[in-house]
Symmetry: D2
Subunit: 307 residues, 4 copies
Amino acid sequence: MKENTEMVRTDLALELREEVENGCALEGVRVFTKTGKNADVRETRIEVLNEAGEKNLGKPIGTYITLESEALRQNDEGIHEPFTEALFQCLCRMIGDKRRILVVGLGNRAVTPDALGPYVVDNLYITRHLINEGIYDSALEISALCPGVMAQTGIETLDILKAVVEEIKPDIVIAVDALAAKNANRLNSTIQIADTGISPGSGVGNNRKALTEKELGCKVVAIGVPTVISVPAIVNDSMDIMLSALGRTEARKVVEEFTDEERYQLASEMVEPYLASMFVTPKNIDEAVKRVSYTISEAINRLLDVY
Amino acid sequence: MKENTEMVRTDLALELREEVENGCALEGVRVFTKTGKNADVRETRIEVLNEAGEKNLGKPIGTYITLESEALRQNDEGIHEPFTEALFQCLCRMIGDKRRILVVGLGNRAVTPDALGPYVVDNLYITRHLINEGIYDSALEISALCPGVMAQTGIETLDILKAVVEEIKPDIVIAVDALAAKNANRLNSTIQIADTGISPGSGVGNNRKALTEKELGCKVVAIGVPTVISVPAIVNDSMDIMLSALGRTEARKVVEEFTDEERYQLASEMVEPYLASMFVTPKNIDEAVKRVSYTISEAINRLLDVY
Amino acid sequence: MKENTEMVRTDLALELREEVENGCALEGVRVFTKTGKNADVRETRIEVLNEAGEKNLGKPIGTYITLESEALRQNDEGIHEPFTEALFQCLCRMIGDKRRILVVGLGNRAVTPDALGPYVVDNLYITRHLINEGIYDSALEISALCPGVMAQTGIETLDILKAVVEEIKPDIVIAVDALAAKNANRLNSTIQIADTGISPGSGVGNNRKALTEKELGCKVVAIGVPTVISVPAIVNDSMDIMLSALGRTEARKVVEEFTDEERYQLASEMVEPYLASMFVTPKNIDEAVKRVSYTISEAINRLLDVY
Amino acid sequence: MKENTEMVRTDLALELREEVENGCALEGVRVFTKTGKNADVRETRIEVLNEAGEKNLGKPIGTYITLESEALRQNDEGIHEPFTEALFQCLCRMIGDKRRILVVGLGNRAVTPDALGPYVVDNLYITRHLINEGIYDSALEISALCPGVMAQTGIETLDILKAVVEEIKPDIVIAVDALAAKNANRLNSTIQIADTGISPGSGVGNNRKALTEKELGCKVVAIGVPTVISVPAIVNDSMDIMLSALGRTEARKVVEEFTDEERYQLASEMVEPYLASMFVTPKNIDEAVKRVSYTISEAINRLLDVY
């Protein structure tokens, strides 16, 4: 989760895409929707093809896959297996022939909605040391690290990872992090997998350094789950309803002429500065984050069965 | 913290009082402000004297003392001792000559902002069994219970407490619980002590049974700390700013004619139903709740020194 | 887990039985061994028939069923389902036609090896309040309580439970608690189900009041899992090896003439008093207790599917 | 705490020193005892001067300071301040004119007695990023890292630290870790500060790579607190009592002729292999580790006041 106080509107490419009026085509962006064997897991694939796409969507060039399931949020145990399998299939494609994987659990373990990354690492089956010691024989080498957040370490997360990656030279980094969403229905029920690395603050002035292939020197796959909504996003969402409630065409017209950016800007100004470091989160957040973290751990652990 | 999904505007008598326009006098309600030896701790005493007061303030007859300190929220260690002492003094007056105290830690330990009550109980010095076994000699008998919330037990909290109170017959119950506030600045920096028991949902249709002297058969002192803001309260707060931003006198006028109740009702309608079970909380909530819980535990433990 | 400092040799009827030389028949005690459909779960049923049996085994009259599986301890995921099913079958027989169940999670949540009971309650599906509110329709009413330990509450656990049982009048209490064992191999891999209630300190001077049908007024089924070994049990176990190592027939003879009681007494005297409040526990205790607690929660939740 | 299964007899230089019969002088080892202003904190300074000292004590050349206080173990709040001050004074001397400090919290957060290092880091005041961003002005730069243990990461702790140290180039590393002791009275009441780095398994075949100045390229100060006793140490301790109990001069004579090494070897053989991964720990371990971790955090934070 972003460490600075400026909250993003959303980290989900899917929600950025939805903002485009009428779902009309965006130059440089392609969208595929897939209904798999299991109809309960919706898979959307968004490809940002070029600079025009970057500009239009506000996300770097690359592929963003979203797996969604209402059932995951509702603690329906039946969804665990198909969701795990869908994520596992996704990871297989992204990882390709890479064999030496470093999983990075980003975020702050002490702040529940930000603890997703560390929770995932807690349940991984780590093999690197066992292979090195000759105890375990596998083609797949899994190592892991929870670097903490800058407020805890005083060190840029990127700097810690660059140093460790240079030392142990993995083929690929899988970075797991909590995200922000706009839509409360997506909290803890949506997983975004991206091959672009993690550059959380790209559009919003965040100065945490991005974890990208360019910086780390190896491919970076990011797995993210929205666990919070920003306060401005909540206020922004409630605007239309408020204006209808006021029933004043004039005022409504003003707002309708706003761009999305302008609306969000207005919403941000409507909340007091001290709210910037607050987040909106469901009451069962601890349980919800643990549940989705198990799904991610298990999808990664399943890689060991096939290689 | 309330167990149902309908969020209260505020549990603080102080914030209800502030809503009254121009701070003008309310029939049946008296307010005293005290600046103690330590100017950093503000003490406000609100007395609801009669039915008129109940109706005007929306709180049952009784005394509500609020201790506030910006320093408590800001992790200023210097405030711990004066705040503990102020709370201790307050408790002494409310407890009077009662000697057998049952402290009840209300709330759900697994939901951080609702864990205040259990955290306080964790750090109490319990003497009842030591006195009964003749190991410890004190005039003050402290016992404690964390009954859990109804979603965890399936049992009304009041029913558990009534049964236990009848069994061990304390002179007084001190019930500790997390509250909701309107103002983010009050989160984790304000303690409300009331001699009315805890009836969280009185004004908002909550059907959890209240813990009162009438029900339990012994005096009930409630200690509460606001740890969350409801989503409608956030939206409500942002309304004025939104309307100024719109710059339309007409629309603003409509809203200005609303009563507080009407405004809050509008704000509630502006948030989607699924947001009802969400809360707004600061990022450092775990640390903040622990810190204020230590203050409360210590103020209660200090009672042992004087009796 | 017992709250006093005098540690038991073992809480498992099975281990007491094993101590009897050559496994010869004990008057008043019957033993059945069952290999179920799933050979991985060993089931032993010990029946204490009468006073002679009580005296010979050191356990009250009743039935003690032990489910064992090496795989459970070794984090073999394949064992979770057959073990859950075996425990579920066991519970069905013990519960019979009772429909209103109160599950009691005994022990101290803050001491990992003693947190089994609270962990089990954390994962139960509670229905009592949903049935009472007409939200959920089931013949089986589940409620739950974690009363804490006397050091935390100052109140005898039995007194809390008696009061609550009288208030909500369940047909049966299922009490879940952590136990002590002699054999490290049994830690976190053995579940004992007894219909005698929980009377942990019966043979060793523990003065915590027992939770029995006689006291509570309804049937009590106890589910226990050994999570610790007492320090004297460790020392006791090492005696034979020590004596062989010494290679002195004379000294060995002295010890061999000791009864089990005498040996354990000697071992107890060999450890310093300050060790009495210590326990021996595996390094992965947190993970191990959580795993076995899921199995128990799930077996209890499964009752909802059949009634 | 050591990650392999072979438990050390003790990590405390002080306990190794005590083993030497009659406290007679050891070649190459000097011992100073200091009674400070506060008589409650005993300070012992052991200097290993040369190779002869290394061989005689079984610890690398360097200085080992032990701070002890019975009161710390007994939760006597009055000891917190003098103990913090004593540790702070000790650190000042060891740190000298170094200004860029990296604090490393060794150990496994999920295993309570091994969580000391991570707990200490949780409560540090981190300044490195604040200084770099120009928000905070101080001559003392504090950063921190919790690298996890090899079972969690698959990476040698030394390799992670070497990489990070090379990246951020601190002047000094303060490594905090849980230790093993022989004497239960020392658990959670003794702090050892050494300027030799951490080489936990030096005498017992541990193959975890040591964190030393030679390896890391900067000075390493180790702060350790014993939180567990090994099972063989417990058995070893109980031998004399057992032999007296047996009352056989002959057998006792055999044992008395053993060297300390031989006795410990015997004790190790007396415990079953599966006990090797177990530890002996007090029931209140979570609370005890948290308490001593606060003392250490505060002593380190106090450095910010003087530089």
